[in-house]
Symmetry: C2
Subunit: 204 residues, 2 copies
Amino acid sequence: MSPRAINARTRLLESARDVIRAKGFSATSVDDLCKTAGVTKGAFFHHFKSKEELGVAAADFWSETTAALFAGAPYHQPDDPYDRLIAYLEFRKDLLAGDLPDYTCLVGTMAQEVYDSAPAIRDACHASISGHAMTLVPDIRAAMAARGVSGFTPESLALHTQAVLQGAFILAKSGNSVSFAQDSVDHLIRYVSMLFSQSREEKK
Amino acid sequence: MSPRAINARTRLLESARDVIRAKGFSATSVDDLCKTAGVTKGAFFHHFKSKEELGVAAADFWSETTAALFAGAPYHQPDDPYDRLIAYLEFRKDLLAGDLPDYTCLVGTMAQEVYDSAPAIRDACHASISGHAMTLVPDIRAAMAARGVSGFTPESLALHTQAVLQGAFILAKSGNSVSFAQDSVDHLIRYVSMLFSQSREEKK
DNA sequence: CAAATTACCAACCGGTCGGTATGTTTGCAA
DNA sequence: TTGCAAACATACCGACCGGTTGGTAATTTG
């Protein structure tokens, strides 16, 4: 790929990431993206055969960049799987900074909009959310085993953390304040810490 | 208001409720709504001065109809506030039936899309979510007092339940399966039951 | 009952949408 | 140097968008 190609295609994907998070997928026009990326419409349709294909590519791009972000994050350092899980949630809470469109989730936003009109985008969004959740499963499974916790699957708890985060974004958007999201993540952290607390044998 | 008016305006709001939940706000055209409601575009702009005003009216309509639904629901019957709270969550889980667009939340869908392009709609959505959440606060507060639970506000827990539900809808849509939502509500019920379990004094 | 108001309609408007047709430029290989 | 494909740019299209128009029919009001 030539240097020019890297710039145009990548800049379009970065523009999609930013503009779609702010305006939504449907309300974002191809011209919007071209203008933001500083390319022409011809370049757009050279790299993506349709707006829908860009949506899929944007979801995949999101998967890759967020995977790199989380892989390099410090929450993997604790030795205990449970501590790593809590550190992950604290890390997610710390990410709730800056302007609203900067910390919300591209694929959560898109999935809601296109789930019945663009199945390909929806599937890419699901793969992104689910794929990220699955990175938590080994630690959840190990923590459950180490502390004798049962009654649910590791996968369901991993997905539940993502559900809380997605819901927290919606509350933050509608209420126009990040504090709604922070409060919900606090409840999630409390839930996980209670799930794995040593005194669970006390439950009736 | 004349019979004719009731029909056209209400049918437009009902169409908005159904079509927007399926396609999203931006992707829903005024012509779509008119065709679904069986009225002309002139009638649409007679009742609503803009598409945005319809969005606000649809959010308000949603608030009213869901308030009536929950007011008449059976989860208010238990004598204990905690039991009522659990019954509410079970009721929400029972509502997860039928096709996806039938049980998802109109205002959660809209808020995500329009939060920076149509503040009036966003505020109406927030009022709807928040207003419904606040109906849970008295029971949460009473349950906290009765069982000596503290460490968070009743309001934050009420909003957290809505965050989980909104996030559950996103997972259900992206994964195209209601089971994702049901699993998350199960985790929420487990969280609430642990919060108010009698053995909480065991916590370290 | 006449006047005013509301409810509604069909046709239409300027503008924007996603997408295409047809170039021109660039980088690289032979 | 030339050939050639990929990487862009320009100009444009038909369809559709939200919204407006001028008008008619029904209802309410004094």
